[in-house]
């Protein structure tokens, strides 16, 4: 009889979930929006998507090699996810080098300069997008849909006002419906609230994200949009406010990024509310029509502070 055993401290059973199962599940949850994007913008979207993913993975591999880390880490899917999310945040018809530089910045600067997975302060994909938007504002804001160039609904709303937008979309119901299922101009992955919601339900079902951040984010955008986005108080169009732009992509897939959001549930509610508040402020008062990515980055910066002050109540304490 074998009487020599391994020894190790408890616990001796572990959950089957790993970092890879989480990352790959998020990627799967994002795929419906990609298929819709192909329908919406044409097969052309696969070019920036694949360039972004390939660059992200290649950059990750090179840096892992330089840092003498295990190269198999790349299989955890986090680099693929960053590439995919970066591509989701750029317009469909961009020069090939734009997603390439974006992924390079996202993985090289935002992720690995801070220490790699788990240590980055800001969402890497959003840093990539912010870098591109600051450096090539023209390329990053030229929109097309079904091959026709035109501004995004939020852009029209910002420049010309709600009445022009309603005229263009033949009434409010039609506008909201189109925004909801996504046949509007915008970034590659952000237009279809419906399919993003579908992916989000998959993540809820798999218990990968909790409701706290999306709820308080979308909820606060809805309320603030309703209260202040129209003429006078309580005269805004809250449905337009939440279905347009990148709110759904941001709330379900970017703000919920585990590394850059707070640990506690209370903290997550505060984080989501902050994202909503900044999204509203940027949309309303800045020169940009959309503020999702900047608002999430701002809240990423506040996350360590939220974690410092917002804690669970210790069992047995007052």
């Amino acid at each position: 009889m074998n009487t020599e055993f391994q020894t190790s401290p408890p616990p001796h059973i572990r959950t089957k979930d790993t970092i890879s199962t989480i990352m790959w599940s998020v990627i799967v949850a994002l795929l419906p929006s990609l298929f819709f994007s192909i329908y919406n913008f044409g097969i052309i979207v696969l070019k920036p998507v694949s360039i972004a993913i390939i660059t992200a993975v290649a950059t990750e591999l090179i840096i892992l090699y330089i840092r003498k880390k295990e190269l198999s880490t790349v299989l955890d899917g986090s680099a693929v996810l960053t590439g995919l999310l970066l591509a989701y945040n750029i317009p469909p018809d961009v020069p090939w080098w734009l997603p390439l530089i974006g992924s390079l910045v996202a993985i090289g600067v935002a992720k690995h300069a801070f220490g790699g997975i788990g240590y980055n302060i800001f969402n890497p994909a959003l840093i990539g997008r912010a870098f591109l938007l600051a450096s090539w504002p023209v390329e990053m804001t030229s929109w097309q849909i079904h091959g026709v160039t035109g501004a995004t609904p939020l852009g029209i709303f910002k420049e010309k006002g709600m009445s022009v937008l309603l005229e263009k979309f033949a009434g409010n119901d039609n506008l909201i419906w189109k925004l909801f299922y996504g046949e509007v101009g915008g970034c590659i992955g952000e237009t279809s609230a419906l399919l993003l919601l579908l992916g989000a339900f998959f993540l809820f079902y798999k218990k990968i994200i909790t409701w706290h951040i999306p709820f308080s984010y979308i909820g606060s955008v809805f309320l603030l949009g309703w209260m202040f986005s129209g003429r006078g108080f309580l005269n805004g169009n809250p449905w337009f406010y939440i279905f347009s732009g990148g709110v759904f992509l941001g709330a379900f897939f970017m703000a919920t990024d585990m590394v850059t959001s707070p640990l506690t549930r209370k903290g997550k509610l505060i984080f989501g509310f902050g994202c909503g508040l900044f999204t509203f402020l940027i949309r309303k008062f800045s020169s940009y029509p959309e503020g999702v990515s900047y608002s999430i980055l701002l809240m990423n910066a506040l996350t360590p502070m939220i974690d410092r002050y917002v804690k669970e109540r210790k069992f047995g304490s007052k």
Binding site: T7, I13, M258, L263, R265, E312, F315, G316
Partner: protein
């Protein structure tokens, strides 16, 4: 007819529902072990002082004869569990990576009893001190795992007002089944043991907490309690660690035991179901604690069973009796899979606190590489103590012990839920234990 309460939510914050092997969680049949040829009885099977040896090599002892005398108040009597000859009195391997002073007894096969068996029908005539003395001289300690001497626990009313006693009928860990077995086969002993403790302490209320996944135990105990209004059955939500003392007290009474405090500080005492049976036998039959129920489970065995065996039996004897291993285990755990410690060999004795043995196969013995924390917050969500294992783990990893302490490292109850749920496979509870040791060492205390 007895009714299970459903209105109240009898549970606590956090906790997990581990993905378990259903074959191992099923109720198990009980096997009575024959009297072993040899027992090795450690003189320290409890929290407190090492018992003072009362025998020397060559002495003849009977079953139940004291071989170790309690040294000081927090200590316990140790008895011979078979009759025969003392063949050794020296340091021998006892449990987890340790050697301890043991009395080794070789059986004469007679199993001659040292104590005079009584069959007291009406123990209510006994006064408090008699009950307490019988518990003390029977060497009864907490059999759930901690091994705190019971006579010390029930002396708590000298300093604190105790309002209720809770019987812990929650198996402390998944796969363990020995307490359910005891409650189903000896419900009267469990209940009478509780009433004895209540009498000694002078409190009016008793509770028996049982998880809802043991409907047989709930039914049997519930029916016995119909005529005992001062004791209430509390069916509890199935969740780990429902059997942890502080969590159990909260689930039953909604009182929280603060960090560093004891159950008696909130007016509660918790007694394990097996301990309650032993108390009953000590008081009415005069029988010392010489045997116990334990679960032997694992896919390496042809069948997972509960075993009733003499304390001091060498584990390999039990395994041989059960027919050996089907496949070679790669890990042997004393206790349950969440908090049990691994043992390095089968040449170790069963003690008063051995609630189970789990044998894991090569495939079940997962070895993971620890990755950086991805801050998913799952450990924070499930921590029953309400601390942040992720942050404490990182603080210990980078030697920031002061931060670890300010984050509440000593609030940890070591349930291991955090390590269980971590997708980055971080050794969270292990880091917390390490941090606590280092902090205590820095402060010049003994662990």
């Amino acid at each position: 007819m007895f009714e299970i309460q459903t209105g109240k939510k009898n549970t606590f914050r956090g906790g997990i529902h581990p993905q378990l092997d259903e074959k191992l969680t099923a109720p198990k049949r009980t096997v009575q072990m024959p009297i072993p040829d040899k027992v090795r009885i450690p003189l320290l099977q409890h929290i407190g002082g090492l018992a003072k040896p009362l025998v020397k090599v060559g002495d003849t002892v009977k079953t139940g004869q004291p071989v170790g005398e309690a040294s000081g108040f927090v200590s316990s009597f140790i008895h011979s569990t078979i009759s025969g000859k003392v063949s050794a009195l020296k340091k021998l391997p006892v449990s987890v990576m340790k050697y301890g002073l043991c009395v080794e007894i070789t059986s004469d096969g007679q199993d001659e009893k040292y104590w005079v068996p009584e069959n007291l029908q009406n123990w209510a005539s006994l006064d408090r001190d008699t009950i307490k003395n019988r518990i003390f001289s029977a060497g009864i300690v907490g059999m759930g795992g901690a091994g705190f001497p019971t006579h010390v626990k029930i002396s708590a009313m000298d300093t604190k007002k105790i309002e209720f006693v809770i019987i812990n009928g929650v198996e402390c860990e998944p796969y363990l089944d020995a307490d359910r077995d005891i409650m189903c086969t000896n419900p009267d002993k469990v209940i009478q043991g509780l009433l004895m403790v209540m009498k000694v302490i002078g409190c009016r209320y008793g509770y028996i907490g049982i998880e809802k996944d043991k409907p047989d135990a709930i039914k049997i105990i519930g029916e016995k309690l119909i005529n005992i209004p001062q004791v209430q059955l509390v069916p509890l939500e199935v969740k780990y660690p429902q059997g942890a003392e502080k969590q159990l007290i909260y689930s039953v009474s909604k009182r929280e035991v603060p960090q560093g405090a004891l159950p008696m500080d909130v007016g509660a005492i918790v007694i394990n179901a097996a301990t309650s049976t032993a108390i009953f036998e000590a008081v009415t039959e005069n029988k010392p604690l010489i045997e116990r129920n334990m679960t032997i489970a694992g896919n390496c065995l042809s069948e997972s069973v509960n075993v009733r065996t003499r304390i001091g039996t060498i584990i390999s004897t039990i395994i041989d009796y059960l027919g050996g291993f089907k496949t070679n285990p790669s890990k042997a755990v004393m206790g349950g899979p969440m908090m049990g410690e691994t043992i390095f060999s089968l040449d170790l004795p069963v003690t008063k606190t051995t609630s189970g043995l789990i044998f894991l196969t090569e495939e079940e013995t997962n070895r993971y590489q620890m990755k950086p924390c991805i801050r998913c917050g799952r450990c924070v969500d499930i921590c029953p103590a309400g601390i942040s294992p992720a942050q404490i783990g990182q603080a210990v990893e980078f030697d920031n012990l002061q931060i670890a302490e300010s984050l509440g490292i000593f609030n940890c109850i070591k349930c291991g839920c955090c390590s269980y749920v971590c997708p980055a496979k971080r050794e969270l509870v292990q880091l917390i234990k390490l941090g606590e040791l280092q902090i205590k060492k820095n402060k010049g205390q003994k662990s």
